[in-house]
Symmetry: D3
Subunit: 131 residues, 6 copies
């Protein structure tokens, strides 16, 4: 059903295997999920996106769990099925409880509601909000 062939480890060229190895080692798992297997049809893109993910999702001013929850918020807003499943699973591995997940969804729902009230009513941005 995938629109790009899923490239398995056994058939992958060395530069793809190197990324797969890094994904598994970084995450402490022994498998690679389908997103990367599809992206591997373009080895340069595979490496580029993975390096982006590693850099962006690393601990920094925000902690990794919070980042993962932001990822879920965006994915649910966009209606991306694959991403909602994969990043919700990732957030749970990093400690997101049922209660945190439900509150996250409540904020996502409310933000989507008031975004459209603002888009429809079109109040001007208050001077106090401008930096």
């Amino acid at each position: 059903m995938s629109l790009a062939r899923l490239l398995e480890y056994g058939e992958a060229p060395p530069e793809v295997r190197a990324v797969y190895d890094d994904i598994m080692q970084t995450r402490g798992v022994d498998w690679v999920n389908n997103f990367w297997k599809a992206l591997a049809n373009d080895p340069a893109a595979l490496k580029r996106i993975w390096e982006n993910v590693k850099q962006v999702m690393a601990p920094g001013a925000l902690d990794p769990l919070l980042k993962e929850m932001i990822y879920v918020a965006v994915s649910a807003t966009n209606g991306c099925e694959y991403c909602t499943y994969s990043h919700t699973a990732a957030a749970r591995r990093k400690g997101m409880t049922d209660g945190m997940f439900m509150e996250l969804m409540a904020v996502v729902g409310l933000a989507n509601e008031t975004n459209r009230l603002a888009n429809g009513l079109r109040p001007p941005v208050d001077a106090q909000f401008k930096p």
Copy 2:
């Protein structure tokens, strides 16, 4: 420019003033932003949405700053100008630094990118991600 008249405090009926008072008291400010003044054309909706905001954004399993940053993530994803300004300002009041804001944007950007890679390549959801 607003598509709904902005209802000022001085001309508002008592049930609208009551919500305005609660907004100002809850936030510790002495002004009401334009979003609420536009929504006040429907006093029942004004009260309903404000009660939703108060319930959803209150401290719970997630802290208020994190919730405000999720709000910004959704607003930037949807391209809502008013909401991006107002909730970024709110997040800054609650302690979001420049560094936190830039990392938040980096996650939002990346999530929007990989959402579309998944939507376009259509890899099946891995069994391991299903609860």
Copy 3:
């Protein structure tokens, strides 16, 4: 600021003038709004889109006011500034009151909220909802 030159009546070729004339006559107004002037850079597209609008927005199983309100609902959901202004104005000309506009916005807001709750929580579609 427009990314396509706005083609004024006086400088337009005959096939563009013919569409402008039909727009003004159909709507009972003596001016053409900027959307059409931008689209007129491609006369075939101008004619095609206008014919689509006339066919779709004509009275049928749904009345024109209801159709115009659906147009506003979609435009606010998508955050299209031009379309929100133009179709809200059109809906008001067709009889949409302040009260109707505020209720329309309330439904649009709520639908956007529950759309994301469903997209995030991912409940399976109930068998009862399938035709």
Copy 4:
């Protein structure tokens, strides 16, 4: 497959059962759809969202069928599968015929098209459209 456990009536705490009872009674049906069962993991959110739905979708300046059709328009625009099925079913129960459904879709499609023509061509909003 749901990312939140579906809470069945028999295992639900009293405050959840109370909402389920109200849903069934208000709608005159003897079952609760999966959306609410997923949301019930957060009883306060369940009650809040249901109260919102009851208030917003009640007869007012707009009739309930029109409101349900606006809900379908937003759900199709956002590509929310669950919501498109559930609200189309609800609209049909309230009297939407095949002919009305097809015209609704025609307006939704056209609005999404011209929204992007306006977003891409960027004509300025005409002064006549500003209230």
Copy 5:
């Protein structure tokens, strides 16, 4: 599962068959895909949309393969499952290779990322970009 009955050739009225025939002849295939069978519940809409597709997707200033790839880009951005499958298949028939598809997806992903960085950071449009 379709929300509109799929109208098969054998049961279709003459005006629908005429469009089906034109679709098959124009594309050089001997079957009609489900999108059109669903749309056929409104014969006027079927004819209108098909005429639009023929006019817009014909060779012109842009070649048909490029147009088909733009269609895929929009469909992946919107997360439309049906359209992503159907237009990717169409683009492949017109000559899109694996390498072209993967590069297309890379651009779509990146554009969605920087769109949100711009929507969140809100830099003013540079004077140099204004026509």
Copy 6:
């Protein structure tokens, strides 16, 4: 109005200047647009995003003009004002004529329309479209 300070060349640290220099040299221009000046508040993100843009937009299986037009298609679909202006300007510099721009918009508009017809009517994906 920008939510992040625009970092000018004269005040930028060396690692930011290095990216600015590369942007100007790669594009053959003597100025840096505001998007990068806002992103420069996070020098690592600035460098990362710029390297992504250089890799993705370089000539490959698709030519740079086609890639730039895909960028415009995505930006108009998402309603990103900044990106629509900046990438339309970039596409014009690379040779996009008025006629090509108008045809691009026609495809973008039509794709957004049929995306929603498919999302609303929900025809099943034809077996013939599955790879």
